[in-house]
Symmetry: C2
Amino acid sequence: MSQTRQQIIDLADQLIREKGYNAFSYKDISSVLNIKNAAVHYHFPSKAELGKAVIQQNWKDYTRELKKWDVLNPTQSLEAFIQVYEKLGSQGLVCFMGAMGAAYETLPEIMQSELTAASVEIRLWLRQVLRKGLETNEFHFTEKVEEKADFIISALLSSLILQRVTKENIPANVKSAILASVK
Amino acid sequence: MSQTRQQIIDLADQLIREKGYNAFSYKDISSVLNIKNAAVHYHFPSKAELGKAVIQQNWKDYTRELKKWDVLNPTQSLEAFIQVYEKLGSQGLVCFMGAMGAAYETLPEIMQSELTAASVEIRLWLRQVLRKGLETNEFHFTEKVEEKADFIISALLSSLILQRVTKENIPANVKSAILASVK
DNA sequence: GTCTATACGCTGATAGAC
DNA sequence: GTCTATCAGCGTATAGAC
């Protein structure tokens, strides 16, 4: 992978998190990298392909993290998961799902399918962590695992969005509440 | 308020929820209402003022609901609150906070301040409901009220976004988990 | 890989007629 | 209130030179 291509993806990722997919432009990228509009098109003929590459990179990085956590116990896994959002929050960023999910219906189809596939995997992973935690008696809650998982994922996703709006540390509050709610 | 002005606000509201503030245009509105671009500018000289009007209308409607719920007990209040998101979810819509919050930093300042003010009020309202529920022994949870409130609001907000991505009934799952977690 | 040049529709916005 | 006319700039995208 060429260096410029990688820079374009990284920049597009940043722009999507900041402005959303529909509101960033090739010029936003070319002006920062000091290249021309056409040079960006050389690497990504269409904006949809660039968007797809951004999702794929995010997902690749995410699954690599997930793999690393295989050795952790349920409590540690959940904390590692939460820490991803904590880190994003400390940088004032939103997650890629939050950035693109709100305008999901307007995304090119090749981006929609990538995004949906990623959401399936994340939900399955967290369910499995919660299930294991119940079995080992590390976690204690009465809700259905599926519902608890969606509750947690949803809260983490929005905590980053609401942090921007409220200018308060919502991710920290959500973290405390999640950890308390599984004890 | 003229009928056209009201139609413009309603349409802009719909477009913002669907595409986001930065990605909708005056043409999206004028073409549907069968008027010209310039006619929209007559009612809202700038896009920022239209965006502000959309937030204000949402907030006016929201606070009217909140007032109605003054007579309810904490359990009923929480259920009424959740029902707002359930209804949006059944229509495939996201809430105005979710639609605009993700790109908060790119919004005109007059929109940012309206949005932030609204978030303060909602959080205060839910905290008060949770606090009262603890006092009356209707609710049982050990987390801090502030953290629990942010947990719940965050989850509801994202449940609408994730419903689009996953094509599953996330709001229903989140609703169950919330109600179970305060029992 | 990056450039210049170019296409052409859409963008938010304004001036002035009706 | 709505129209026509007009604006300068930006949007994605392509062709072909270097």
